[in-house]
Amino acid sequence: MVEFLNVIFSGISIGSVLLIAALGLAVVFGLMGVINMAHGELIMLGAYTTFVVQNVFKGLGSPLSETYIILAIPMAFLVTALVGLLLEKGVVRFLYGRPLETLLATWGVSLILQQFVRSVNWVLVIGITLFCLLFFGAWWVVSRRPDFDRIRNLFFTIMLPLSAAISAVVGVVLAQTYKLAVTQPWFGAQNVNVTAPKWLQGGLNIGDLRLPYTRLFIIFLTILCVAGIYYFFQRTAWGLRIRAVTQNRSMSSCLGIPTQKVDALTFALGSGLAGVAGCAISLLGSVGPNTGQNYIVDTFMVVVVGGVGKLVGSIVAALAIGTVSYIIGSNALAPLLSPIPPLADFFGFFATTSMAKVMVFALIIVFLQVRPAGLFPQKGRTVDA
């Protein structure tokens, strides 16, 4: 019985981590059809935001510093939503309807974000800010001129290298004068540790079963996020608009829905959810620049198995994948299988976390033979065969 409960709890626990990580993707990929390979890096950014908030709170002393997580969640949401917004406005917007190109471009963004986290320091930040101020400021000024279209190319060929050069020179000068104070990376390539607040350490004991509070917290957070999203989509005006745009873009546009705003909002929302996920996973262990990479494939699997465009599919898929990986990874079936040695050996072979992934993938492929469109496919006439 305890064994069984343990399987259930661990399955839900792993599943909830998967789900909260996949939730943002389910919105961005499921509703907009945009494949965002930088989703993992957004999760990573959320985790780093949590790290920063934690360090700021440490300065505030004992009773307050235990509450950092309460502020970290909205902060993580905001930061990643902002990055997501930038990503949408700067890259994804131009690539709607070209999913493979989007995939490659966002992969490029994810590489940049990874390296950014590794090498970010004052010089880099000041340099980038200066460049943006110079370049976009000049753009803003010049674009007022009536003959902007004519001098556009000229403007780019002059201003782009000019502002880049100025910010580079300023950066080098700063680095020479202040040395390590400004060139020291903020985070570096090493992993950073977020320690859970005291009230989340320890666990709940039910009989022989021990449920860690952090896991319970993540489950709670996941439920909260799912409920929030459900409410947002089903009960608010913007949620309705988003759903309308996903179903028929041109019709919605004719009815006066600002589709571009809707796109940006949806993307920002999905990215923000990734931030919350990052906040959650930072409680589970140390986070590093590569953290996002570990989640990206799993989250995509959740969305594919669940069926694109259906939130409930993602929920069921995350829980199912979580439970199955736990059962295989921990060899929970061993006592049942021990009478049949070859079978027990077979499952014993896969009884590690990484080998469980091999088995789960095989199962997913088998599953897709039966339901190619996922657990909850969208019904109705498809536009394309």
Binding site: S253, C254, L255, G256
Partner: protein
């Protein structure tokens, strides 16, 4: 020879509760040209989907030349001799018309035959002849993406013929064509009808009159409402009610100006449901189709 080339027996197709076809029965004689008409949402395109294997019937059977084709995939059905032309012309835009036709004309469509067998001069000749017939000889070697809409329509019909099917399914061939082009396509279909069985789906009644020298079938809400020659159909009280008459009476046109104030959309709403756009959004009414219409010069 009056054998039935196509028999559709009590076919129902449902999409999650919504029945696009309801107990449809349909027969087509060998060598017949049949026009299928019906109001929007009558299930015309689903009807073609079922025949060509794109959609599998939930219930009922489809027999082509006496063979039940329910378990066949699209390409197998195509090889049996059913060719389909889509509503919007679907040709391979990055290939030239000649290459498009060669692909359709290829007799043996297995992987290795396609890879290893050389183009026979017989096929080459057929393709060249076809290019001439559809009037694309001079554009045989430009990429098909550069063709005009009408040329693409003709190219797709050419591809159909190259495939040498016994039954042609043609979905709204006149859509988006000028009067003259429409007439040409009509003549083309009539020429084809001499050697093929054809099912044409069409909205344009003028065009229907041009080509319907045989029976016309009216679909309504997923089943056959009536069948007969064009006069019979036009005088059938039921048809007039659901299709011709009622529609004209009760349709209300509305103009909405979008945010950009550029596009003008005409929304067709029946009188009982006359309402403002905001009401439509509030009541969450599903909108089945949207057509963009340009304002004619006279109206401006």
């Amino acid at each position: 020879m009056n054998a039935k080339i196509l028999e559709i027996d009590n076919v129902t197709v449902s999409f999650g509760g919504f029945k696009a076809l309801k107990g449809l029965n349909f027969n087509l004689d060998q060598g017949e040209l049949r026009v299928v008409i019906g109001p929007n949402g009558a299930g015309k395109t689903t009807f073609l989907d079922v025949i060509s294997g794109k959609t599998k019937p939930t219930e009922g059977e489809v027999y082509f030349k006496g063979r039940n084709i329910q378990s066949f995939a699209e390409h197998e059905i195509a090889r049996l001799g059913i060719g389909r032309k889509f509503q919007t012309p679907r040709v391979y835009l990055n290939l030239t018309p000649r290459e498009n036709l060669e692909l359709a004309c290829n007799r043996n469509k297995n992987v290795f035959a396609t890879l290893l067998r050389a183009n026979s001069s017989d096929e080459y000749r057929t393709v060249t002849g076809l290019l001439e017939t559809i009037g694309l000889s001079s554009k045989a070697n430009v990429s098909a993406g550069l063709l005009s809409h009408g040329e693409k329509q003709r190219l797709e019909i050419g591809m159909l013929v190259a495939q040498s099917p016994d039954l042609l399914l043609v979905d709204e061939p006149a859509a988006g064509l000028t009067d003259e082009e429409t007439y040409n396509v009509g003549e083309l279909l009539l020429a084809l009808a001499e050697s093929h069985s054809i099912i044409v789906i069409e909205h344009d009644m003028e065009f229907v009159r041009q080509i319907a020298n045989n029976k016309v079938t009216v679909l309504h809400q997923g089943s056959v409402l009536c069948e007969g020659n064009i006069e019979e159909v036009q005088n059938d009280p039921q048809v007039i009610e659901v299709y011709l008459g009622k529609q004209e009476e009760e349709i209300e046109t509305k103009e909405i100006i979008t945010e950009e104030e550029e596009k003008i959309a005409l929304l067709e709403i029946t009188k009982e449901e006359k309402m403002s756009v905001s009401e439509i959004i509030e009541k969450k009414i599903a909108v089945s189709e949207i057509t963009e219409k340009e304002k004619k010069i006279e109206e401006v």
